[in-house]
């Protein structure tokens, strides 16, 4: 894979939690290249290091040892300001929706656009409504999270991550609260974004039905990358 085609590139990545005798290594020598526009699924048992890897790739944690190049930028020794700027090019989908309770569905999605700077209000309103429409929530734009079901909230959170056309989407069990049809719709949407816009998705999931649609499956065990299955071939 050519360097310029890799959205994410990790080399000899190690990570520890704690200090002194309580220090515990969570990741061991991870080497990884993720192609631009690919849909990669990360699997592994609980505590295998999936989430830690995701937070390191999303510049949410400091790189302690090794290297991560995200969208062409080395994260090791990156300043906070560099990390903040880079995070604006990412889309995060958390297991919990973390929607702002005071904002409507549309306003929550707008937060994903607003972070990129001033955008024409009418245009951003249209973009937010469009994304929510793609996620089947066209009739829920003005609903507060308290008035949405769990699945609807999660779809709003997905809309918030996608509305800004991120270069990389990092998702942790994003479909756990969704029925299969909706989950499949979300996965299709992410794959379509990969094909049309080059959006790279790395998703942690235990849902085997999603594994079937993945371009690539990475398996982590006790902090080590033990499996790397490329399914595009």
């Amino acid at each position: 894979m050519a360097e310029r085609d890799a959205s994410i590139q990790a080399t000899a990545l190690n990570h520890w939690f704690g200090t002194g005798e309580a220090r515990k290594q969570a990741l061991f020598d991870i080497d990884l290249r993720v192609a631009r526009g690919s849909f990669t699924v990360l699997v592994g048992a609980s505590g295998s290091g999936k989430t830690t890897l995701l937070t390191l790739l999303g510049c949410l944690r400091e790189i302690q040892d090794g290297s991560v190049i995200l969208l062409g930028q080395e994260l090791r020794h990156a300043t906070k300001a560099q990390n903040v700027r880079l995070r604006r090019r990412l889309g995060f989908i958390f297991q919990a929706h973390n929607l702002h309770e005071s904002l409507t569905a549309q306003q929550n999605v707008l937060m994903g656009l607003q972070v990129k700077g001033h955008i024409d209000k009418a245009a951003s309103d249209r973009a937010a409504a469009h994304v929510l429409g793609l996620l089947g929530l066209a009739d829920r734009l003005d609903y507060l999270p308290a008035n949405l079901s769990g699945g609807q909230k999660q779809r709003v959170a997905i809309g918030r991550a996608l509305v800004g056309n991120p270069d990389v989407v990092l998702a942790d069990e994003p479909t756990a609260a969704l029925d299969w049809d909706t989950a499949a719709n979300v996965v299709d949407l992410l794959k379509r974004l990969g094909q049309t816009r080059g959006t790279t998705t790395m998703m942690v999931t235990h849902d085997n039905r999603i594994l079937d649609r993945a371009d690539r499956i990475l398996t982590l065990e006790d902090g080590r990358l033990i499996g790397d299955e490329d399914r595009r071939a």
């Binding site: 989430t51 995701l54 937070t55 999303g58 949410l60 944690r61 300001a81 903040v84 700027r85 880079l86 995070r87 604006r88 990412l90 995060f92 958390f94 297991q95 919990a96 973390n98 929607l99 702002h100 309770e101 005071s102 904002l103 306003q107 707008l110 937060m111 994903g112 607003q114 972070v115 001033h118 209000k121 918030r160 942790d172």
Partner: protein, 390 residues
């Protein structure tokens, strides 16, 4: 409101939306800010009233320089001054006139209530030392036992004061003698007395036989037009060089008494502390509300952090909330403060009111300190770690 704020801020008015989402907490916060405002307004009103009433007697006279005893921190206190210094001061080419001012409190038994009138003994043949309102009636003081009384004195009914004319004077017993008020002027009760009385120096001495015209409480000096009071006062201090005296411009004397009343007198210090406590209460209330709000939204803020929102954004949201609390809390605060001060003014006859300047100062102070509280509250945001969200 949301649209207006969105236009102003150029982003979603998250602070406003958060506040109105929890209306009960919003109302409680506004009540708290309003309460702090009321505290500040009442204390400032009292302090302002003390300033106004402190300076009020100075307005009865027209002078450029005042010679007082060194311990005379106020117009109604301190030792006497030998009149010889007035004669000495008149030697200065810029000093065109002088008058001894006698001061004492006169009790007035009005049956159910005894009132105390701060009484000034003046030379009725020197009208140039008196305010125009008083000058018009000064000739009545040439009659022994005559007085001009403060029609706003506490304890003197308005209709009774309004009836006082030269043709219908009001006589009253005091200090073992009889005084007859032929005219009135506007004074007003203060913190040290219930009102004022003007009599001639001769009448004053008959009320207080132990006093002497050779030792007034103050000496008032008028200067020729265009003379600099401070420069003349400095010359007189060199000329007289008596450490038992204070020779100041009239304006300095007023400023120094005001400062003395506000910083040395227990009442002034108490009112000052009252203002401080009001400000602190406001800061604590706004801080508590905002820090609870920040704590409640920690996950949402952490999510925003993960999305790439910087510290400036969070500061903006919290300060937005703080400013809204400050502005919206000010409105009921100023109304309640005005009502309380008006009621207090009716009961005490003190000049208690909210001036435009005071309202503006409190408004700016409220918004500033609310914003400050907001900035302090954002320190909690450091605990919002987006890595914990996964």
């Amino acid at each position: 409101m949301s649209r207006l704020l969105e236009r102003l801020l150029g982003r979603l008015p998250i602070g406003w939306l958060q506040l109105i989402h929890q209306r009960g907490r919003f109302a409680a916060a506004l009540s708290g800010v309003a309460f702090a405002n009321v505290l500040v307004f009442v204390q400032l009103g009292l302090m302002n009233s003390m300033g106004t009433s402190t300076l009020r007697p100075y307005e009865f006279f027209q002078a450029d320089i005042v010679i007082s005893a060194a311990d005379a921190n106020t117009l109604v206190e301190g030792g006497n001054v030998a009149r010889q210094w007035m004669l000495q001061a008149l030697a200065d080419p810029d000093v065109v006139g002088g008058m001894g001012l006698l001061v004492a409190n006169v009790p007035w038994d009005r049956g159910e209530t005894d009132i105390s009138l701060t009484t000034f003994g003046i030379d009725p043949f020197r009208p140039q030392f008196l305010a125009p309102e008083i000058t018009a009636d000064i000739d009545v003081l040439q009659v022994q036992g005559a007085a001009i009384i403060d029609r706003m004195a506490r304890g003197l009914p308005q209709e009774e004061a309004a009836a006082i004319r030269r043709q219908t004077p009001m006589a009253f017993e005091t200090q073992g003698g009889t005084l007859t008020a032929y005219a009135t002027f506007a004074g007003g009760g203060g913190f040290g007395g219930d009102g004022y009385l003007l009599v001639s120096d001769q009448t004053f001495l008959s009320l207080f036989p132990a006093r002497s015209s050779g030792a007034p409480d103050h000496i008032l000096l008028r200067l020729r037009s265009g003379a600099d009071p401070n420069a003349v006062a400095a010359r007189l201090r060199e000329l007289i060089a008596d450490p038992t005296l204070r020779i100041r411009s009239y304006a300095d004397a007023m400023a120094q008494e005001l400062r003395f009343q506000q910083t040395q007198r227990p009442t002034g210090v108490i009112f000052g502390f009252g203002v401080l406590i009001g400000v602190l209460v406001g800061i604590v209330i706004v801080y508590q509300v905002l820090s609870a709000d920040v704590a409640d939204h920690m996950r949402e803020y952490a999510t925003f952090k993960a999305m790439g929102y910087g510290q400036g954004f969070f500061l903006g949201v919290v300060v937005e909330e703080a400013v809204i609390l400050g502005v919206f809390g000010f409105v009921p605060g100023v109304i309640a403060g005005w009502g309380i001060l008006t009621l207090m003014a009716m009961v005490t006859t003190l000049p208690l009111y909210i001036s435009f300047g005071m309202a503006l100062t409190v408004f700016v102070g409220t918004v500033f300190f609310s914003a400050l509280s907001g900035m302090i509250a954002t320190r909690k945001l450091a605990a919002a770690d987006p890595a914990d969200l996964f």
